[in-house]
């Protein structure tokens, strides 16, 4: 019984995905997908950035903290960047950011990078579908921390009451329920 | 015994006046406590802590005279997070208000003296409370001549132009305005206040009190100039601006030596400042 209840819950789960699109290529591709009536899921909320090179990785870390279920970053193909090498610099940062977040416990399906030129409206639509499915497969965002451990957190003394094996949890602070 | 001193009372913005042009954004806010609660009584030179809900809290000098019972007036320059959020608010928005805090200008004690007010930019706001108190009809006769030297960066950075006519034709009162750099159709003085005191203000070394407020460097340079003109340290009064959180001398941010600017100040005579360490 629990099985399909979980999938039912997944069915209704409509992930909130923030898409950082580079103004010269991917934003235009999204525009093209729209003007040529291509159907693609409506989960993405677009943020226009001048170039992927302008996207500070801290913004992505904060976007997850603010509750995004998934993030898509799309820019011009390497070599076509309007600013010559913005995407080259961005690429190294994104590789490192993806490694960091995956290592710290954020599922890899949540953070997606790709290149999409202004003419690839169709490809953009399929990328969005792909990202929505990937994020749906890992469920809603529950925060960077393992929520079950937070019960024991005792804000008063700052001692993590419940992390001791024989401890069931310190003073529960309603601030965090 | 004050118990609820950290929790602000609810106040409402009833009027906003855009004082200056956009590059140096200063607005004056008129506030009154919601539910028509009476305004707390205060003395000129005291300050209040204003909370912008969900953003933060900051100290602002009271710019209105205590005899004005129906509203509280503060002037705010947009510099940090709280002031920027405050500048976004519109008439009718609610803010938190607590106070009054600090000591006050020694206006009672300085009765029967000449009063000289030297201000730099937003430093005019706290002085305005003392100016309006002195020029109030039933106080005016207690004081001698009033001279004012108000320095601004440029003509469109001037504050309280709606008060200037009232100040100008108050009896036995002269006002001089100055800006940093000359610009066309400006016929008042030009230059920094400390260079103009000698010839714009008639300085008496007896029976005259000097109220100085502005950016820290301006306060220091004007005080040095006054001392050179023979003014005694006890006759020079200034009000200091420090970073504050509690306003009650507990949170440890605003101290100069062992004295707290929020509790033992913000108004100090230069005599007191002399035996305080140079840490402001």
């Amino acid at each position: 019984m629990a099985g399909n209840e979980a999938t039912a819950e997944k069915e209704e789960f409509e992930p909130k995905i923030i898409a950082f699109l580079c103004n010269w290529c991917s934003y235009a591709a999204a525009d093209l997908a729209g003007s040529s009536r291509l159907q693609y899921p409506t989960n993405i909320r677009t943020v226009r950035i001048p170039c992927t090179g302008r996207l500070n990785p801290l913004i992505i870390i904060k976007t997850f903290k603010k509750g995004a279920d998934g993030i898509l970053v799309s820019g011009c193909h390497p070599g076509d960047c309007h600013y010559i090498d913005g995407n080259y610099y961005a690429r190294r940062r994104f590789i490192m950011l993806k490694e960091l977040l995956e290592y710290a416990g954020v599922e890899t399906e949540r953070l997606n990078f790709t290149w999409c030129s202004a003419a690839e409206g169709r490809r953009f639509a399929s990328v969005v579908r792909q990202v929505v499915d990937r994020v749906k497969s890992v469920g809603p965002w529950e925060g960077y921390l393992a929520a079950d451990l937070l019960e024991g957190y005792d804000i008063e003394t700052g001692n993590p009451g419940s992390t001791e094996p024989d401890d069931e949890g310190g003073v529960i602070d309603e601030q965090f329920l | 015994m004050k118990r609820d001193d950290y929790i602000p009372a609810e106040a409402e913005i009833i009027e906003i006046i855009q004082e200056t042009g956009s590059n140096l954004n200063i607005k004056t806010f008129h506030l009154k406590l919601t539910g028509d609660k009476p305004i707390f009584d205060f003395k000129p030179g005291q300050f209040l802590m204003l909370t912008v809900h969900g953003v933060g809290e900051a100290p602002f000098g009271l710019a209105s005279s205590p005899s004005n019972r129906d509203k509280i007036v503060i002037s705010v320059k947009e510099t940090g997070r709280v002031t920027a959020a405050l500048h976004e608010l519109t008439v009718g928005d609610k803010v938190g208000l607590r106070g009054p805090y600090g000591n006050s200008f020694p206006v009672e004690e300085h009765k029967s003296n000449e009063m000289i007010f030297i201000s730099g930019g937003i430093g005019l706001a706290p002085l305005r409370s003392a100016i309006d108190y002195v020029l109030d009809q039933d106080n005016r006769k207690d004081y001698g001549r009033v001279q004012m030297l108000q320095a601004f960066r440029s003509p469109e950075d001037m504050l309280y132009d709606y008060d200037q006519p009232r100040w100008e034709d108050a009896d036995n009162t002269e006002i001089k305005y100055t800006i940093d750099k000359p610009c066309e159709d400006w016929d008042h003085c030009v230059g920094f206040p400390h260079n103009l005191i000698k010839d714009e203000i008639e300085c008496l070394t007896e029976g005259a009190k000097y109220y100085v407020c502005g950016p820290p460097i301006m306060i220091k340079s004007v005080i040095n100039e006054l001392l050179e003109l023979g003014i005694k340290p006890k006759d020079i009064i200034t009000t200091l601006e420090m970073r504050m959180s509690c306003g009650l001398g507990k949170c440890g941010k605003c101290n100069i030596g062992h004295r707290y600017v929020c509790k033992d100040g913000p108004v100090f005579s230069y005599q007191e400042l002399l035996d305080m360490p140079d840490e402001f």
């Binding site: 003394t157 | 118990r3 510099t79 002031t83 959180s245 101290n255 100069i256 030596g257 305080m276 840490e279």
Partner: protein, 353 residues
């Protein structure tokens, strides 16, 4: 004043009775990351009592419970707390005399009549502190120099002394001051002292004190409060504090540091610890900062404890000499080295005597 003796088993029995009666808080040795630390903890069930660890000075102090690191200023929550009296009194077991002196300092600051802090008051009023001492002087302790008695403090109605070398019933002495009663059931764990044994404890404490005297050769010659003028003008603050990184750990672990800041979590106003060692502590929105350099912040921290606080609070020192700031500091910067630098200048400046 009554003196009792008890062995370890009796102590556990005594604690079980206290656990039934009060909200018991005691120090535990906990393994966290690569550190073995002694921290105060609420005791949730009596099976934890044997794990109580009193031997070493705890890293945290009752300050974490009375002036917590993070506190929601929930004023109406306070109203209910005042009215409902079922919140059990809290009993801190095993508090050192230097930490008790720190709590007394907080009371001076937060319970002064004209600005009574309601939040501090509600956390402070229903607390009992049972003191503790043994013959090991905590590392880097210099509380003697600030006139704090090793073995007693007036905030503690009862004091426990542990003689680590003695066995059986001579292991623990419990001094219960007049006017304080333990719950009745405690009596059967306490053995009444036979006649002539009272001075046995006195003798023990005095040779502990003699031992401590040789161990700490640090000495403050000038009387408190240090003169602000000389400290500001004649002391080279740069050289002794050059290795400070400005991380503020010393103020987080200092039992007497109480500077705080407000912050907003959505619309509720909160209070959290702040530190004068942080660069933004006194930074104005305009960017002007009266204390730009780290040595100026060190000057503030040291003089607040040794000059400003004594001037504002009747000569009482703002530091209790517990030594935590020394071994918790990532670069082990020793506050005694800086005190010495100021002390020497004061003596040269003639204001020392």
């Amino acid at each position: 004043m009554r003196l009792k003796k008890l062995n370890s088993k009796d102590l556990i029995g005594l604690l079980e009775v206290l656990f039934a009666e009060y909200n018991l808080i005691a120090p535990f040795k906990v393994e966290q990351g690569r550190l073995n630390r002694v921290l105060y903890r609420f005791i949730r069930q009596d099976t934890e009592i044997p794990a109580i660890y009193l031997k070493e000075l705890p890293e945290t102090t009752p300050k974490n419970f009375i002036l917590p690191r993070d506190e929601r200023l929930d004023f109406n929550g306070l109203e209910q707390a005042d009215r409902s009296d079922e919140t059990r009194t809290r009993l801190f077991f095993g508090v050192r005399s230097c930490d008790l002196a720190a709590i007394e300092l907080f009371d001076d600051v937060f319970l002064d009549e004209d600005y009574l802090d309601p939040f501090y008051e509600s956390r402070r009023k229903s607390n009992i502190f049972i003191g503790y001492s043994n013959q090991i002087l905590p590392p880097n302790n210099f509380q003697k120099e600030l006139g704090i008695d090793y073995f007693d403090h007036q905030l503690a109605p009862a004091f426990l002394y542990e003689d680590l070398e003695a066995r059986g019933r001579d292991h623990y002495y419990l001094k219960i001051k007049a006017g304080f009663e333990f719950p009745g059931a405690v009596e059967n764990y306490l053995e009444e002292l036979k006649t002539g044994e009272n001075d046995q404890l006195e003798a023990l404490l005095s040779d502990w004190e003699a031992k401590f005297a040789q161990e700490s050769e640090f000495e403050i010659k000038s009387k408190l409060p240090f003169s602000e003028k000389i400290a500001f003008n004649q002391v080279d603050w740069q050289e002794p504090t050059a290795s400070c990184l400005g991380c503020g750990v010393c103020t987080y672990y200092c039992p007497t540091c109480f500077c705080f800041d407000f912050f907003w979590d959505r619309s509720t106003k909160n209070r959290a610890w702040d530190s004068c060692m942080f660069s933004v502590f006194t930074e104005h929105a305009s960017g002007h900062n009266p204390r730009e350099e780290q040595h100026q912040r060190w000057r503030q921290r040291l003089l607040h404890k040794f000059s400003y606080h004594p001037q504002n609070y009747g000569g009482k020192p703002g530091c209790v000499g517990c030594g935590r700031c020394i071994y918790k500091c990532p670069v082990n910067l020793d506050i005694r080295k800086v005190i010495k630098a100021v002390d020497n200048s004061l003596i040269e400046g003639g204001a020392g005597q």
